[in-house]
């Protein structure tokens, strides 16, 4: 037997009071109609929603379908008893959020222990009084509020953790894209360009000085694109002879040339469904240029020694440190091939054009190298970092990585000192200072240093080999006023 009961309008608290307190859904499980009616009434008087059930079986179904914060549960019920229902409620996923009040007239000495073991929060012994029911309901409401607060705190904590993760991810996206590292404006633009190019299937020409990370960009495009499940094959065109390159790119038929002992598929066939990255494309011969043009135009290759073309589904990414337009002008590169491979173009910044990324790169390389070597070096002295950010880095990021590896080997502590750095990095500082030393008087040296440091007095003091305080003092003594 069960009955649904809605809150009464009269007698209970006002709607505003209920809003402040939080509306509670209560379930009353009691086979005695008079007692059930009484408890239901008391709950209604507090303005809550309540459902009364006459047996545990109906109550269990009702509980699972609803969301009950308070359950009043008589112990002695026909069929399943209240204690068993109490255990079932507690083991239900929603059970943790319910306050269970057991009611019994059993008068047994171990009743309290039994109901607590079953997971009840409170226990009322019959005969009950109206005041007793009201007080115990108020206590149950307080427990519900405590549970709510705990869940709210957990939700808030989870939300904050998610926000922190989001912010970390956003920060990471700004400072890193796959294996590319940098938070400079130019790198931010590069990441956006890579994302855009990953969405399309066009050929891309990646230009940049040696060591700027052209292959990393190609990998980033491939692994962000729909071809990411397919192969990525990188070919250094500069490292292979003309005939070998042709054979490796397009494959050959057995007996096509001396040494062709087997039929061999080339990189383009091997990369079917994926991407071929042709590094140093400016170095390929006119014959290979012609074959390559065919791949790009017809999407097919012909193995050396065969005449039948084979269809390939390959995206081509190419890179060069050459000025290909210049190569076209002087006749060493086909104009039609250039236009085919330069559908989209990425120009990578040199490291000296993004010096603000050097400390981030240094930290990343230190982490990588420390992990590999097992040397716990995780810091760089201010002077060493200054030297690293001042150097021109003609070999770009690759050279910086080598310098950090070298410094880590020399490092005797957990902090890289300036003397741990490779000599070429130090020489550039010496050269900068030498220029200053050559100047005839201190005033000229100071002005030159400030000019070189673009007005940064700390940097100027370092270039002059003096402390910042000394620089200030000497500037005053020499009557040099700076804006």
């Amino acid at each position: 037997m069960s009955e649904s009961i809605v809150p009464q309008e009269s007698g209970g608290p006002t709607t505003q009071e209920v809003d402040r307190r939080r509306l509670i859904h209560a379930l009353v499980v009691e086979d005695d109609e008079d007692m059930r009616g009484l408890i239901v009434k008391v709950v209604q008087m507090r303005g809550h929603q309540v459902i009364g059930c006459g047996n545990a079986e109906t109550a269990w179904t009702t509980y699972q379908e609803g969301s009950f914060s308070i359950v009043f549960l008589d112990w002695e019920l026909p069929g399943m008893d209240g204690l068993e229902l109490c255990r079932k409620v507690r083991s239900h996923p929603k059970g943790e959020r319910s306050v269970i009040v057991m009611i019994t007239a059993r008068d047994q000495s171990d009743d309290l222990q039994a109901v607590l073991r079953a997971g009840a929060n409170d226990y009322i012994a019959k005969p009950v009084t109206l005041d007793m029911l009201k007080v115990r309901l108020a206590i149950a409401e307080q427990s519900v509020r405590n549970i709510d607060r705990r869940y709210e705190a957990e939700d808030a904590l989870r939300e904050q953790q998610e926000t922190v993760q989001d912010l970390k991810r956003q920060l990471n996206e700004k400072t890193q894209f796959r294996d590319l590292i940098g938070k400079s404006r130019s790198m931010g633009q590069l990441y956006a360009q890579i994302r855009d190019l990953a969405k399309v299937d066009t050929t891309v020409l990646i230009e940049g000085e040696t060591g700027t990370g052209k292959e990393l960009v190609a990998r980033a495009i491939h692994f962000s694109s729909q071809r990411k499940a397919g192969p990525f094959i990188a070919v250094n065109c500069a490292g292979l002879t003309d005939s070998l390159l042709g054979s490796q790119l397009f494959g050959h038929k057995k007996g096509a040339f001396t040494g062709a002992v087997e039929n061999q598929q080339g990189f383009f066939e091997a990369a079917d469904g994926g991407t071929v990255f042709l590094d140093e494309i400016g170095d390929i011969s006119p014959a290979v240029q012609t074959s390559l043009l065919r791949v790009l135009q017809e999407r097919e290759i012909v193995r050396i020694g065969e005449s039948k073309p084979r269809k390939v589904d390959v995206r081509v990414l190419a890179a060069t440190h050459h000025n290909l337009s210049q190569d076209v002008t002087n006749g060493s590169f086909r104009a039609d091939l250039l236009y085919r491979i330069r559908v989209a173009r990425i120009q990578l910044p040199s490291l000296r054009e993004r010096r603000e990324d050097i400390s981030l790169l240094v930290t990343s390389f230190l982490g990588q190298c420390s992990a590999v070597t097992g040397k716990p070096v995780d810091q760089v002295s201010r002077e060493a970092m200054h030297a690293l950010t001042s150097y021109a880095w003609p070999g770009n990021v690759r050279e910086l990585k080598s310098a950090i590896e070298s410094a880590l080997i020399s490092c005797k502590d957990t902090m890289i000192q300036v003397e741990d750095l490779p000599p070429e990095v130090l020489d550039s500082r010496v050269a900068q200072r030498a220029v200053l030393v050559d100047l005839p008087d201190e005033k000229s040296r100071m002005l030159a240093a400030l000019d070189q440091a673009k007005g940064n007095r700390t940097l100027a003091a370092r270039l002059l080999g003096m402390s910042r305080a000394t620089l200030y003092r000497r500037l005053t003594e020499l009557n040099l006023t700076l804006r």
Partner: protein, 106 residues
Amino acid sequence: MSDLSRRLEKMKIPIDSDLQDLIPGFLENRQQDIQKLQAAMAAGDFDTIRTLGHRMRGDGGGYGFHMISEIGQAIEAAAQVKDRAEIATRVDALIDYLERIEVVYE
């Protein structure tokens, strides 16, 4: 005071006005309890008598009728030892009580 006049005297029972709509049903159920108790006594069904007494004990005080709880407790105890005379006395007491009460809602 004669027995008759005492029996006619009404007992005023103060009850929480919030329970006003439940009280007629509650008292009607006790009238039914009397019939069930009398039938059970005739049949010698002490289990039913004990259960009815147990419930009256649990419910009476909650509604504000503490006397019903007391009578219920006595009936439950008498049923356990099968004391017919005590049960009959307590049932008469219940009949008398229900006749004499006048509910005053506060």
